[in-house]
Point group: C2
Chain length 467, copies 2
């Protein structure tokens, strides 16, 4: 191991090979679910150094766990407990290489924090349309390695759809220079799309070209109260027809979710109390506030007439809009305050959501009387965070420890007839590896394994993750 | 070979294994550039039969050329001259399996003609936003196998971005059932995106789930005259800022291109004669005609004030708008009427286009005095059809035969400093295989070859194409 460490020090400088002191910021995930131990934390400063680290690890038979902001939710970015893996932190690759306002592209390194890039784009009058709760600390490389989703997918797609080009260090320690800023480029296989979402198991993303868009002239927000989830889906269809590409957000929040926010964050507003379902709509417009408001008013008034909505508010100010979004974003924190719970990051065809929820709610309540279902998410993308909390009065931790596997099975089995997914946006990591094998077809698994074997035959890159 | 044919007949029925008569509709590409000879043309009727054909070919050591509507431009869908390849036509897989209006998805088989699917979507009040010149005969499977582009990429992306799920027959003759209609699904590697654009070399697409969108309430079209290509790019930035997602088309046409249309199709309108560059703008709106027209007027009047545009018309009727588009779509025909020419399907960062064209025009004219450059394309995507025609009075065929390789090299070399691509939307096929090897990095080529070897180790699927 000393020889390996010497080679790593030669590759990146002795200061950037950490083996002592408290390394838990790298070795433990932020939800504190996994705590491994690395042979060393290695912090290269540029792509050539990343490639040198990979070659050094290959020479010494070491495997590598790439890590960005360490905000993942599935244990894909922390080392295992063996003490033999190299934790490769991309955080020092944090340069913006170019911004091209006519081509609407931003070229940045993997370690750039997402919010920093959003702000840079905004300073140029442009929008980087990737937005998620962890944006203050997650990094671009991690966003791409996990094909991050978030709140703007409805209009702009997942991280994969926002990326035009990549620079990647391969398992052989070579650099693929694929940093193209082209909207159309049919020259061979979709290497970019294959690396994106592969969670560091096929290559290490060191830089990317991201699409930008003009900043909208006005963003307006509304909240609508619906009696049923079916009504929420009807409102979604109405909003898509009426606003077209101007509809940039459509989040749903069940009453239990909003109750938890009210309980644990009483200082926050509680608009439309008593609504079984609240829908947060966002509209982005290139003209201005007045026509956008008028469109929202006309849309919501038609939805009221049709009985899809029974009450609604349009935010009167940016502060009020931010307040509504803040309530939405506080749900996970409120749920954590309430106690341990069983999280599901699922997706379904929008047309199947109401049926799925009705039947699965009923099955859960029948199997676990009094169980509380905290349901919220990105309805516009068919993505629900369908979380299950112990019945009031029961010990949360015990409930989770006892029932998590069976409840996961119940929920994931229920997805199957609807063609749903057990991982909409968080990925596989170590958490859902067994589910992947159990629920993906043997043909798909064989294809994925043969791709892994082709690109990383010696299992150097994030072994034990995804596959 | 008789044993092989017997196995194929057993797989799909004797009627669907064609070995005699005129098979040129399958064996010759529509531009009549390649004319091969197949061992047999095999026409399976469903995915199971496709899989059976692949297994039959594997058993007898035969290779397979999948074919859709046979409208490709790079020779990827016709057999070679050996007489040993099986031409697998997907045309009988032409069923629409589902349309889900709430989920905005259409599930259809590979042999469905694109225009048929567009019309079906329209009958449901929805838009299938993939549109290209060959839409009356190209098929969905071919569109996906080649990652087709076209005129709506600016807003909606290429075929890959419009596809949510695939059904694919692998080189092993198994079926991957990946027909998901989910907007978010992070369960493993991007198999869908890898098969899309692989031109039948990694698997045979038998069905797909495509995204739909609400039909816009109004579509308005304008034509603007610009003095320079730089002005066209400035107008693009202005239009993106002013119209946001409402800007759904931005095509550029050089004067030579419009002159050819006027010469060979004199009955067509010739709006804005004398414009060095004409830009066709399309706006899609969810409110109606009046606000859309007003936005166009305000945009164009600001562009006139800024000197980016020196004249402009807004179509007064659908017929007039269709006439403007018809002129644009007639350019390739007009150029064919004029004589043989050297076609380039290139893309660049939008910010680099004006410089590239200025320098490359000058280099071509210096090398080939009097040469005519017919330049038009999807400026909004950075995609130009930058075609080169013999000087007036010279024999076109001789010019092409003599100078094509050198002119290709000049143009493709000129792209390199700008990070451009020598194949924006048409793909590689056999036509650009040598360019791919010459111009793609060794790292990218090694990655692609290892993927091909992993998924199709015996080179059964479209050998000699792409790689």
């Amino acid at each position: 191991m000393n020889a390996a460490l010497a080679t790593l020090r030669a590759a990146v400088g002795a200061d950037q090979v950490l083996t002592e002191g408290d390394l838990s910021a790298f070795e433990r995930d932020w939800r504190r679910r996994w705590h491994g131990r690395a042979l060393a934390v290695v912090r290269p400063g540029n792509s050539d150094e990343v490639a040198a680290v990979v070659r050094a690890c290959a020479a010494h038979g070491l495997s590598i766990v790439p890590q960005g902001g360490n905000t993942g939710l599935v244990g894909g970015g922390v080392p295992d407990a063996s003490g033999t893996q190299v934790l490769l932190s991309l955080q020092r690759l944090n340069r913006v290489r170019a911004i091209d306002t006519a081509n609407l592209t931003l070229t940045a390194e993997a370690g750039c924090v997402l919010q920093t890039l959003q702000e840079l784009a905004r300073d140029h009058g442009l929008l980087l349309p990737l937005s998620l709760a962890a944006q203050g600390s997650c990094t671009l490389g991690g966003n791409l390695a996990t094909n991050a989703g978030g709140t703007q997918v409805l209009r702009w797609g997942n991280a994969r759809e926002l990326c035009l080009g990549l620079e990647v260090v391969t398992a052989q320690g070579e650099i693929w220079h694929g940093l193209t800023g082209l909207r159309k480029d049919n020259t061979g296989y979709a290497l970019r799309d294959l690396f994106i979402g592969s969670e560091g198991t096929l290559g290490i993303i060191t830089a990317a070209v991201m699409k930008l868009a003009p900043l909208p002239a006005a963003t307006t927000t509304a909240l609508a109260a619906c009696a049923t989830l079916q009504d929420c889906v009807a409102l979604l269809t109405r909003a898509r027809n009426g606003l077209g590409s101007g509809l940039t957000g459509f989040e749903v929040m069940g009453r239990h979710a909003l109750d938890l926010v009210a309980t644990h964050f009483p200082a926050l507003p509680r608009p439309l109390p008593g609504a079984p379902w609240a829908v947060l709509l966002e509209q982005s417009d290139h003209e201005g506030l007045a026509p956008a408001r008028a469109r929202f008013e006309s849309l919501l008034s038609a939805a009221l007439d049709a009985g899809e909505v029974f009450d609604a508010v349009i935010a009167e100010s940016l502060a009020q809009a931010a307040g509504l979004w803040h309530v939405r974003e506080t749900i996970p924190l409120a749920q954590a305050e309430e106690g341990a719970n069983i999280k599901h990051d699922i997706s379904l065809p929008v047309s199947a959501i109401a049926n799925f929820v009705q039947h699965t709610d009923a099955a859960l309540v029948a199997a676990y009387p009094g169980v509380r279902i905290v349901n919220f998410g990105h309805l516009g993308d068919g993505n629900l965070h369908y979380n299950v909390q112990a019945p009031a009065g029961q010990d949360d931790a015990t409930f989770v420890a006892t029932h998590e596997p069976a409840i996961n099975t119940l929920v994931y089995d229920a997805l199957q007839p609807y063609g749903g997914s057990f991982s909409a946006e968080h990925g596989i990591g170590v958490l859902k590896r067994d589910e992947l094998v159990a629920r993906k077809s043997p043909v798909a698994m064989a294809l994925m394994r043969s791709i892994k074997a082709a690109l990383d035959p010696h299992q150097r890159l994030n072994p034990g993750r995804v596959l």
